[in-house]
């Protein structure tokens, strides 16, 4: 049996970054992810949603959690309708930043999760994060 739960969080200001990562944390705790995994995913969400607020102004964060008999998993999709990332390959490099940050957000977030997909064009940037663990 597979159980799926889905929630969407609007990203409008810095407070919503908090709501998004706390919601993810709670959802993950509910289905049995450990606290280290919760912190990893919450940090990745924090990085990416902060980018949304900083560069695009607003966006949406969809969090889907699923449980089957063999696996627990969380999928997070963060999308915004801002100007897009001009050079995605460059943005994925460590230390590259256009906004005066540390330049560790995007590549760091990728390392924090199991699967990371990014597509960006002016008007729509979509990032998918995924983490799964065996169900114990």
């Amino acid at each position: 049996m597979i159980e799926i739960s889905e929630i969407s969080i609007d990203l409008r200001n810095e407070d919503d970054i908090l709501i998004a990562r706390q919601t993810a944390r709670k959802k993950m705790a509910d289905i049995g992810f450990g606290s280290a995994d919760q912190t990893r995913m919450a940090t990745a969400i924090s990085e990416l949603t902060r980018n949304v607020i900083k560069y695009a102004g607003e966006g949406v964060c969809h969090i889907v959690t699923g449980t089957s008999s063999s696996e627990i998993c969380i999928k997070v999709e963060i999308e915004d309708y801002g100007p897009g990332i001009v050079d995605v390959d460059k943005a994925m490099e460590d230390g590259y930043t256009t906004g005066g940050g540390l330049g560790a957000g995007l590549p760091g977030a990728k390392r924090l999760v199991n699967d990371f997909q990014i597509e960006s064009q002016p008007g729509l940037t979509k990032i998918n994060l995924e983490m799964s663990r065996p169900h114990v």
């Binding site: 969407s8 609007d10 409008r12 810095e14 407070d15 970054i17 908090l18 990562r21 606290s35 280290a36 919760q38 912190t39 990893r40 919450a42 940090t43 924090s46 990085e47 902060r50 949406v60 309708y81 460590d94 940050g101 540390l102 560790a104 957000g105 590549p107 760091g108 977030a109 390392r111 924090l112 008007g123 729509l124």
Partner: protein, 266 residues
């Protein structure tokens, strides 16, 4: 005969559905792919100050204005394009009034399931926004209260951080800590992050800035209280804190601070 019965039932259902939509205290509007109004309920007509006959078939953005209208940000446009439901807040101007709203946009389908337009469900959230602003104001006040710098010993100040650090608060923390370093002629400052649940790159950057600003004032800054999860996450992120003195616990940090000022804990 049977067919006729079914169709008359359907007509009745449509009428009932329309009646229900017209009773709702919020606006329900359906538009086609080119944003021509197909349906508008009574509340919508009231908001616009017009009759349905006058708005039918005309562009929705001629009657309601918002920052999303006629842009890619329009959630109805996105709902039609991405085949997904969107809920979003905005501010609209209609019938000479401007107020905050929350709108739900979903694609409108024909019998075969093809997307032929969008449906919009709009709630006036003036009251909700007012309450939220009050709550936000309160939480800001609490945040400002919660960054006290404590003088621990001659030359040692300590700043225990509790809660979430955002950009605004980080700025405050830096200012507080730096001015108290000067006031107390401190040579060591301890920044305890035990109460900070999560540290991402932006918070890490604020910490790094605080440390280098502190050094300019002649003070060493010791960071204490990274949890194992936070430490692991920061390393994965690739944040380099190796130039900074860090201690696992506040206790170790305090004893380190005493060593730095030339005293020893007995």
């Amino acid at each position: 005969m049977v067919n006729e019965n079914v169709s008359s039932d359907n007509v009745e259902n449509v009428d009932i559905a329309k009646d229900v939509l017209n009773q709702l205290p919020c606006m329900v509007m359906a538009v086609d792919l080119d944003f021509n109004i197909l349906f508008l309920n009574n509340t919508g007509c009231e908001w616009m100050g017009d009759d349905f006959e006058n708005v039918e078939g005309k562009k929705c953005y001629d009657f309601v204005q918002s920052s999303h209208c006629r842009t890619d940000n329009c959630r109805v446009k996105q709902a039609m394009k991405n085949d997904r439901k969107y809920v979003w807040r905005n501010e609209i101007t209609t019938g000479g009034k401007t107020f905050p709203i929350e709108y739900t946009a979903s694609p409108l389908r024909d019998k075969d399931g093809n997307i032929v337009g969008g449906v919009e469900y709009v709630i006036d959230i003036t009251e909700r926004v007012k309450i939220e602003e009050e709550v936000q104001e309160h939480s800001r006040t609490i945040m400002e209260l919660s960054t006290p710098v404590i003088k621990l010993w001659e030359g040692i100040v300590i700043l225990p951080l509790v809660g979430v650090i955002d950009t605004m608060r980080a700025q405050q923390i830096i200012e507080n800590l730096l001015s108290s370093i000067v006031e107390n002629e401190a040579t060591v400052a301890i920044l305890d992050v035990t109460g900070v649940p999560m540290i991402d790159t932006s918070v890490a950057q604020h910490i790094l800035k605080t440390v280098s600003a502190g050094k300019m004032l002649g003070a060493e800054i010791i960071i204490t209280g990274f949890s194992p999860n936070v430490a692991q996450t920061l390393v994965t992120l690739g944040v380099d804190l190796s130039d900074i003195i860090t201690c696992g616990s506040l206790k170790d940090g305090v004893s380190k601070a005493f060593t730095l000022v030339g005293r020893k804990l007995v």
